[in-house]
C-alpha cells in the first residue's frame, strides 16, 4: 500500500470483515438429518481492533471462523473480506490459528516455519525465523520435532505461524484454551503486541476474563446468531449492579436502611445500594448530616454475568 493511499485512508474505519446473514447448514448426503451451524449471522470487524467472539459450545463460533478462513463453505449469506477481495488474496492477508492446532509431527519448529513461509512465496533466513521463535520462547526448541512439543508450545508456534505472511488480520480460534496461567498471560501479551503493530485480531474464546482483558469489542453468538455486539466498556457501563458508598463521622444511620444494606466496622460505615438513581440524593444527605464520604464505587456486572444473562434472554 503506498504512503499516499495510507494518508487518504487515515481516519476511515475500514471493515476488515463484513458478514451478512450468514447461514451454514450441515447436511449429510446420506441422511435426512440436518443441523444448523449458523442461522443468519451478522457481524463486522473493523481495522485495527481486537474483536472477541463469545458463545457457548456449539453456538457457531468455530463455524464462522472456518467460513472466514475458507475451510467451510457458507450455505447462504455473504462474507466480505478486506472490502471485497478474492478468496486467495484475502488468505494472503490473513493468518489462522485453529482450535487445538496440530502441525506436521515430522518437522522441527524451524522446518515448520520454513515450510509455511514458502506457502507465502517467502524464503526467510534461519536467523529471521529464529527471531520469531525467540519472541514466543521457542528458540531453544527450534530443532526439536513438533511431535515432542507440549500443548503450550503448539499454541505458541501456532500463533507465530499465523504471522509468517505478515498478515493484516489474525483469526484465532480459542487461542487461550488449554494454557496454564503463565502461558495465557504470554499469549495475551502477544495478541496485544501484534495488535499494537496494526494487525486486526478476531478471536473466539470461552474464557471471559481473558476476552474482557484484551478485546476492544465483543460479540456474543447464541444458536448461530449474533445476540449482542459492543465495546466492552459500553456493555458493562450500562450494567451497573449496585454502588458501594463508604463514609464515616455519623452516629444515626437507621434512615439509610431504606436505600440498601448497611454495615458498620468501627467508625466506618458501608452502604451498598441498588438504587443507583438515588445515589446523589443519598450522598447529599450524608454530607448534610455531617458524614464524610470516603469512597463511592459503582460495581459493574462482570462480562461473565452479562454473558450468562444474554444467553438466558
Amino acid at each position: 500500500m503506498s504512503n499516499l493511499w495510507q494518508e487518504d485512508c487515515r481516519g476511515l474505519e475500514m471493515k476488515v470483515i463484513e458478514i451478512k446473514n450468514l447461514v451454514k447448514i450441515y447436511a449429510s448426503p446420506f441422511m435426512r438429518k440436518k443441523s444448523i451451524g449458523l442461522n443468519g449471522l451478522n457481524m463486522e470487524v473493523e481495522e485495527g481492533e481486537i474483536f472477541g467472539l463469545l458463545g457457548p459450545n456449539g453456538a457457531g463460533k468455530t463455524t464462522a471462523l472456518k467460513i472466514i478462513t475458507h475451510l467451510l463453505k457458507p450455505s447462504g449469506g455473504s462474507v466480505t473480506l478486506f472490502g471485497g477481495v478474492g478468496s486467495l488474496e484475502a488468505r494472503k492477508r490473513m493468518g489462522f490459528l485453529p482450535e487445538n492446532p496440530t502441525f506436521y509431527r515430522h518437522l522441527t519448529g524451524m522446518e515448520l516455519l520454513q515450510f509455511y513461509s514458502r506457502l507465502y512465496g517467502k524464503n526467510p533466513t534461519r536467523k529471521e525465523l529464529e527471531e520469531k521463535l525467540k519472541v514466543v520462547g521457542l528458540k531453544d526448541s527450534q530443532d526439536r520435532r513438533i511431535s515432542g512439543y507440549s500443548k503450550g508450545m503448539l499454541q505458541r508456534i501456532g500463533l507465530i505461524q499465523t504471522l509468517i505472511g505478515d498478515p493484516d488480520l489474525l483469526v484465532l480460534d480459542e487461542p487461550l484454551s488449554g494454557l496454564d496461567p503463565v502461558g495465557r498471560r504470554e499469549m495475551k501479551d502477544l495478541i496485544r503486541k501484534v495488535n499494537m503493530e496494526g494487525k486486526t485480531v478476531l478471536f473466539s474464546s470461552h474464557i471471559l476474563s481473558d476476552v474482557e482483558a484484551i478485546c476492544n469489542r465483543v460479540g456474543i453468538i447464541v444458536d448461530g446468531k449474533m445476540k449482542k455486539v459492543g465495546h466492552i466498556g459500553e456493555i458493562l457501563k450500562s450494567e451497573i449492579r449496585y454502588i458501594d458508598i463508604e463514609f464515616e463521622g455519623m452516629e444515626e444511620i437507621d434512615w439509610l436502611n431504606e436505600y440498601g444494606d448497611l454495615k458498620k466496622e468501627g467508625k466506618v460505615i458501608y452502604l451498598r445500594t441498588k438504587d443507583t438513581e438515588k445515589k446523589d440524593k443519598v450522598l447529599k444527605e450524608i454530607s448534610r448530616r455531617g458524614g464524610r464520604i470516603i469512597s463511592v464505587v459503582p460495581q459493574r456486572q462482570s462480562l461473565e454475568e452479562h454473558f450468562i444473562r444474554t444467553l438466558n434472554e
Binding site: T69, L71, P98, H106, R118
Partner: protein
C-alpha cells in the same frame, strides 16, 4: 509453483520419515537376500532370473509405495487436521493436490533409482557384467508410476486409505490385462459382459502400454512408438486425473 514445490518437498520428507518406508526398506533387503536362494537353483538361467527378479522387484516396490503411502498422504492431512493451516493460507486446491502428488512422485523416483543402483551392483557381483538395456524398464516405470500415483491421489479424494489402496491395486492389475479384456467377451461368448468390458477398457488406465519387462530381459526391440505412447498416455491421463482431483478437493469442507 513455489507453493506446489513446498508441499511436494514436505510430503517427500514426511514419507521419508514414515515408518512404513522403513518397513519397506527392510522388506526390500529381505527380498534381495532371498534372491541369493533362487539364483543357485536356476543353473544356466542365472542372468535371466536375476534380471527378471530385479526388474520385478522395482515394480513391486513402487506399487507398494503408491498403495501403502500414496493412498494415505491426502487422507492424513484431513484426519490430523494439518490441512487447516494449509488451506487457510494462499494455497489453491490444485496447488495442494499437485504438491501431494509430486511429493509422492519424488519418493517413487528416488526409491526406483536406489533400487536400480542396488540391482546394478547385484548384477555386477553375480554376472560380472551390467546390462544397461535394463534402463529401458526404468523409463517405462517412471511413466507407469506417474499415472498410478495420480490414480491413488484421485481415489483417495473420496475414499478411505484402505479402500483407495484396494482400488488402486485393482486398477493396476486390471489395467495390466486390459488388452485381454476384449478377448474375454469373445472367448467366453457371454455378450452381456461386453458393456462392462467396454467400460473397463476405456475408463481404466491401460497399464499394459508400460509393460516391457519381457523385452528388456530378453533383449527384444522396443519400438519408438512405445516410448512415445508411454510418455504421452501417462502425461495426458495423469493431467486429467489431477484436474478432476483438484475439482473434487475444491468441493471439500473441513469441519
Amino acid at each position: 509453483m513455489s507453493r506446489v514445490f513446498a508441499i511436494a518437498s514436505n510430503t517427500f520428507r514426511e514419507s521419508i520419515r514414515d515408518k512404513i518406508l522403513l518397513s519397506l526398506a527392510v522388506l526390500g533387503f529381505l527380498l534381495i537376500a532371498a534372491s541369493k536362494v533362487f539364483v543357485p537353483i536356476s543353473i544356466g538361467q542365472q542372468a535371466k532370473v536375476i534380471k527378471d527378479f530385479g526388474v520385478g522387484l522395482i515394480e513391486i516396490f513402487s506399487l507398494l509405495i503408491v498403495v501403502l503411502i500414496g493412498t494415505r498422504i491426502l487422507y492424513q492431512e484431513i484426519e490430523r487436521k494439518t490441512i487447516y493451516s494449509i488451506i487457510s493460507k494462499p494455497v489453491t486446491e490444485l496447488d495442494f493436490v499437485l504438491g501431494k502428488f509430486l511429493g509422492l512422485y519424488y519418493l517413487i523416483i528416488v526409491i526406483q533409482l536406489i533400487l536400480f543402483s542396488i540391482f546394478i551392483l547385484f548384477m555386477k557381483f553375480y554376472l560380472g557384467t551390467i546390462d544397461w538395456f535394463l534402463l529401458n524398464a526404468l523409463y517405462f516405470y517412471l511413466f507407469e508410476f506417474l499415472l498410478l500415483d495420480a490414480v491413488a491421489v484421485f481415489l483417495s479424494c473420496f475414499t478411505t486409505p484402505i479402500t483407495a489402496g484396494i482400488l488402486t491395486l485393482l486398477v493396476f492389475f486390471v489395467g495390466q490385462l486390459s488388452h485381454y479384456l476384449k478377448d474375454l467377451v469373445v472367448v467366453t461368448g457371454v455378450s452381456e459382459l461386453s458393456v462392462l468390458v467396454n467400460f473397463l477398457y476405456f475408463a481404466l488406465p491401460n497399464f499394459s502400454v508400460f509393460n516391457v519387462k519381457a523385452n528388456v530381459v530378453y533383449h527384444l526391440p522396443i519400438s519408438v512408438n512405445s516410448y512415445f505412447l508411454a510418455f504421452s498416455y501417462s502425461i495426458l491421463y495423469t493431467l486429467i486425473l489431477l484436474i478432476i482431483s483438484s475439482l473434487l478437493y475444491s468441493l471439500k469442507e473441513y469441519q
